[in-house]
């Protein structure tokens, strides 16, 4: 297993007017080249922070992160990122918003426009490509921001709750689509989600984080066979994984009923 992302004893403290906030405490883990890796954890545990650290957008306060063997001093090459908020630019149409990653990277315009249109079509936004962001529903905006991250076919894809604003069915649909995309080119994906089922369905391994200052509690390998169909969710192996992770959550004392 070749490590794509290596995280060693990484900690992150935000300094702030009201005193520092420890967001990550001593996180260590590896993501293998071509692996689909999910992060699960209670709200506020530091998932987004960890993703931003991997992306080189935030520096770690302690420890080190290496991507493809290189220490980070800014975002590494070949990265694509879906932010938790959609971050669409009001002055651009949806198509132009998707194309901006290509523009940033200086890729040929005509070719990328064709790709972008195709992507938007596949994500159900074909009819909306010339509209502005404020004319779209929340889920549509989120889909547009996913298209934007996929456009340049990044080798490492960081996704922060990309399907959070989608209904169950559209979500299933896009889960399938994402698996297809991942399998066709074997990208490395680090995926933050709050759906246990989604994590199990998509991932090679699922990391469970603890609340408070974030820590990795356990990394669960998902040994379900691939390619996986949606129907795999009805299998007992699937249920076993879900139950196991649910148990981890319960152990963290999050479900109170």
């Amino acid at each position: 297993m070749v490590a794509c992302v290596e995280i060693r004893a990484a900690g992150k403290t935000y300094s702030s007017a009201r005193g520092p906030v420890v967001a990550l405490a001593d996180v260590s883990m590896d993501v293998a080249e071509g692996e689909f890796f999910s992060l699960l954890g209670p709200s506020g545990c530091g998932k987004s922070t960890l993703l931003k650290c991997i992306a080189g957008l935030e520096g770690t306060s302690t420890g080190a992160i290496r991507v493809r063997g290189q220490g980070l001093a800014g975002p590494p090459k070949g990265l694509g990122m879906v932010f938790q908020r959609d971050v669409l630019l009001d002055w651009r149409t949806i198509l132009e918003n998707v194309l901006i990653t290509a523009e940033f990277q200086g890729l040929p315009k005509a070719e990328m426009t064709v790709r972008a249109r195709a992507l938007l079509e596949r994500f159900g936004l074909g009819a909306f490509q010339d509209r502005h962001p404020w004319e779209l529903s929340g889920g549509m905006r989120q889909r547009a921001s996913i298209c934007r991250a996929l456009l340049c076919e990044p080798e490492i894809l960081l996704m922060d709750e990309p399907f959070g604003a989608l209904d169950a069915m559209t979500r299933d649909d896009l889960n399938v689509e994402l698996t297809r995309i991942w399998q066709s080119a074997r990208r490395t994906v680090v995926f933050v989600t709050h759906s246990i089922a989604e994590a199990v369905f998509l991932s090679d391994r699922v990391a469970m984080m603890s609340p408070g200052p974030g820590r990795i509690v356990e990394i669960v390998p998902i040994d379900l066979p691939r390619p996986r169909l949606l129907s795999i969710r009805e299998t007992p192996e699937f249920a076993r994984h879900v139950a196991h992770i649910r148990g981890l959550f319960a152990a963290l004392g999050i479900v109170k009923e």
Binding site: A55, L57, P75, V87, D90, I100, F104
Partner: protein, 263 residues
């Protein structure tokens, strides 16, 4: 459609306001009868204009061209300076400090120096127009360039966008609404700057017309020039606003205008 309609309604109400002011003024002069050397009635001003329209229009044109050159220069220079300020702490200190100090000096007091250095041609007038207009451009643009969603910058950094691309594709469009505010303030001040320049040196333009008329205590001619200046300023301002509406249909401040009231 909507835009056009609101445009012509805007024009109509602007005209209505102006006509109202003129009528009030005329009535006030009739009632209070101030000496004409102090405040002539609009009717008298109109007569004076109509006696020599080409004289006034020629000089308005001269002032207008100085104003436009000064305005364009201050937008170009001002945006450049704002970019420098946002990119470097050192540039911020140097430019801001000099600009603020310079802007605190009354141009009428500096004008003689300008004339001594630059002569009595169009240069000192343009220089004064730029000095008056550039400040609001810089300060407004700096706010606009700085008020960018940090996540948008993160998006650019993840995609290894060059600083230039971040500027052109994120910061600058984001700063446009602020820049337009700066421009609306600046266009007025560029006009005032051109006039102040003409006061100090020059033999053409509405500022010159005012001076000559003042020298003869020809107050109604002074007012012809002042009214023309007011009109010129208003027209230029609304032109900048019209361009703003064209360029920024995406901004909330414009969207709010397009759909007033809700329901």
């Amino acid at each position: 459609m909507m835009g056009l309609w609101s445009g012509s309604a805007g024009l109509r109400s602007t005209l209505a306001v102006l006509i109202g002011v003129v009528l009030l003024w005329e009535a006030a002069v009739w009632l209070l009868a101030p000496p004409p050397i102090i405040l002539p009635p609009p009717s008298r001003i109109w007569v004076d204009f109509i006696e020599a329209p080409s004289y006034f229009l020629r000089n308005s044109w001269y002032t207008l061209s100085t104003t436009l050159v000064g305005f364009v220069l201050s937008v170009v220079l001002g945006v450049g300076l704002a970019v420098a300020i946002v990119n470097s702490r050192l540039a911020e200190r140097i430019i801001y400090t000099l600009l603020v100090a310079l802007n605190s000096l009354p141009k009428v007091a500096l004008a003689p120096l300008f004339v001594i250095w630059m002569g009595t041609g169009i240069e000192p007038k343009i220089a004064i127009a730029v000095m008056l207009a550039i400040f609001s451009i810089v300060v407004d643009t700096v706010l606009g360039l700085r008020s960018v969603d940090p996540d948008a910058i993160a998006l650019a950094r993840v995609n290894h966008a060059s600083p230039l691309k971040i500027l052109v594709k994120i910061r600058f469009p984001n700063a446009l609404p602020s820049l337009f505010v700066g421009m609306k303030v600046a266009i007025s001040f560029a006009l005032v700057g051109a006039i102040v320049g003409e006061f100090v040196a020059g033999s053409a333009g509405l500022g010159f017309v005012i001076l000559v008329a003042q020298g003869q205590f020809d107050t109604s001619r002074v007012f012809v020039a002042l009214v023309l200046l007011g009109l010129l300023g208003t027209i230029l301002f609304y032109i900048v606003e019209a361009i703003e509406r064209l360029v920024l249909p995406w901004h909330v401040s414009q969207r709010a205008v397009e759909r007033p009231g809700g329901h």
